[in-house]
Amino acid sequence: MTGGLRLHVPEPEVRPGGTPDFSGVKIARAGSVRRPPVDVDPAEIRDLAFSIVRVLNRAGEAVGEWAGTLDDEELLDGLKAMMRVRAFDRRMLMAQRQGKTSFYMQCLGEEAIACAFRKALRPGDMNFPTYRQQGLLIADDYPLVDMMCQIYSNSRDPLKGRQLPIMYSSKSHGFFSISGNLATQFVQGVGWAMASAIRGGDKIAAAWIGDGSTAESDFHSGMVFASTYKAPVVLNIVNNQWAISTFQGIAKGGSGTFAARGLGFGIPSLRVDGNDYLAVHAAAKWAVERARRNLGPTLIEWVTYRAAAHSTSDDPSAYRPKEETDAWPLGDPVKRLKNHLILTGAWSEERHVQAEAEVDAEILAAQKEAESHGTLHTGPKPSVRDMFEDVYEEMPPHLRRQRQEAGY
């Protein structure tokens, strides 16, 4: 070809073999970003879509206008929730490796987002999560044994063996049934919020999506409906930098930040340190209050890093340097909250070690109990009968015939 046109294909700055360099990632000083009133004119906070709301500074102090939404007891509760999520992930990953189930997905490094967000919601609100928000359930004290039984697809699986591991569902815990099809839940969450507004209630919705999945049309559909109807919804983008092997630049293109996607829709948009439990809670609370007061949607980009493999089917060493996790400038959410609590005197190394042991014991006990109901390939299983149920409210004749043919 003779002309000057060339296709631009974004590439991450480093690949395996290279040295991770996040010096180009601009990170606002903790406490430096203002906290606007919840009824602020979206036009006045466009800059917040390009900064990062942070509360915990490097020394572990809570600083700035977003600090102070939680007391010591609530913070310790949050620390415990994150530790439980992490220990849960570790054990279930191991269970998958041992062949006790087919598949698992961790949220290592992203625990603060779901755990702190959950605490900003009220009973009756509804999350439309992705597969990486197990923290919403665990921080809401959903029974760990039930989660494990789902993962094992065993005889006590609340979803009767039908769903891939981790595709939980719990209406009573405000957790919409997870779909394997990316982004579909994002626009559904907006619809749920519209329904709450149609019925004149006070419940709000939270829709969740990953950085990569914001490329899907359903993300944009969700944005336009939320914007048009000022739906009472918090629109959460978890930017963990990666979508399997694809870096965030492929979904983001030239828009600067994911939060900036909200600006064209006139939706107030924040960018928040997702590894800072205090910042997550404060921003979530702000957005939830906006929704509850009928001020409309808020878009939040939670900036974090997927510290583990995408799933048990993935090996990230093929596409990103191993050292990248440690080089990630926003640190580890558990360590950061722990250090903060030690600094304020609410916590100590000794108590942390003890708490770790307690959490491990709790998870282990839950696992034992779950395994007594079977694992994917051994022990009691959901019935084959269950396979034919719930396709419809009432089983039509052709399905009944098929069930009989199957011998059940």
Binding site: E11, R162, S217, I244, S245, A251
Partner: protein, 337 residues
């Protein structure tokens, strides 16, 4: 002759066409640097550059929509849906646009596009990594639909698909990627290297679209199958000791009617098998074709074995998958009928 897995054969088909024809471009989710979650495009970016093989945003509608635009320009895009279960956002682009472009513009614009996707079950992938949506494509005028059952065919068919001037839906049974699978899930995987159809010639060759093949000759009954079910049917015939003639359709649209008719007229009996759900499945089309062409030659009712009419389950995978027992049982029924 080199031995290849189905993954390597598919990769090789891409490489052959990309080397030969610089209008061939390849993209999809995780397809570029990493080479695809099933590794079907591994090495292509390195070899042909980022201009020719690249990562796409996670937007299936966008992937197919841009590919249609590229095809209109004069390229031959080959795009990957990470799983067939994720093609639905692209359905409008495929059905309303790609399939009808030639017709509605009276040949002014055409759409030489290949949409590849892993299909079928057998990997404990649950409902979003196991579906067999071929009938959603075979029902659409203007699309060709291909389902290979082995590495040799996969390469030859993919090259044909890329060279074809109409849109082709290319469904790759993922359970066959690394070895033939006959439905016996307790048995260790036999690699393609041990199978005659794992022998794949280097360079360009084609398996023509629209031509089926007889996998196993027999006189007692005809089994119409494609993809994974070809291997299941072979094993089932062995198991129940029926001298079945197994037809591997390879292309569903256009269908090799002649081959089907000849075989069924010879055996007088017909069994249709597929993994996809029964109701309105492609098997219904096959039964109708056979009834039309061979009614007076049939000695027994035609029988279908298919996935149950439920979403694809996780724990109950082997109760769902139409394995040797169900296929073998149906063979016996057709013989008795």
């Amino acid at each position: 002759m080199p031995r290849m897995t189905m993954i390597e054969a598919i990769r090789d088909a891409h490489a052959v066409k990309m080397a030969e024809d610089e209008t061939v471009v390849v993209y999809g989710e995780d397809v570029g640097y990493f080479g695809g979650v099933f590794r079907c495009t591994a090495g292509l970016q390195e070899k042909f550059g980022r201009n020719r093989c690249f990562d796409a945003p996670i937007n299936e509608s966008g992937i197919v929509g841009t590919a249609i635009g590229m095809a209109a320009f004069g390229l031959r895009p080959v795009v990957e849906m990470q799983f067939a279960d994720y093609v639905y956002p692209a359905y409008d682009q495929i059905v309303s646009e790609a399939a009808r472009l030639r017709y509605r513009s009276a040949g002014d614009f055409t759409c030489p596009l290949v949409v590849r996707m892993p299909t079928g079950g057998g990997i404990f992938g649950g409902q979003t990594h196991s579906q067999s949506p071929e009938a959603l494509f075979t029902h659409v005028s203007g699309l060709k639909t291909v389902v290979p059952s082995n590495p040799y065919d996969a390469k030859g068919l993919l090259i044909s698909a890329i060279e074809d001037n109409d849109p082709v839906i290319f469904l790759e049974p993922k359970r066959l990627y690394n070895g033939p699978f006959d439905g016996d899930h307790d048995k260790p995987v036999t690699p393609w290297s041990k199978h005659p159809l794992g022998e794949v010639p280097e360079g360009r060759y084609v398996v023509p679209l629209g031509k089926g093949v007889i996998r196993r000759e027999g006189s007692a009954l005809t089994v119409l199958a494609y993809g994974t079910m070809v291997h299941v049917a072979e094993a089932a015939a062995e198991m129940v000791g029926v001298d079945a003639e197994i037809v591997d359709l390879r292309t569903l649209v256009p269908l090799d009617m002649e081959l089907i008719e000849t075989s069924v007229k010879k055996t007088g009996r017909c069994l249709v098998v597929h993994e996809a759900t029964l109701t309105s499945g492609f098997g219904a089309e096959l039964v109708s074709v056979v009834a039309d062409a061979c009614f007076y030659h049939l000695e027994a009712p035609i029988v279908r074995v298919a996935g149950w009419d439920t979403p694809y389950p996780h724990a109950q995978e082997w109760d769902y998958f139409p394995g040797q027992a169900r296929v073998g049982g149906a063979m016996k029924r057709v013989m008795e009928g």
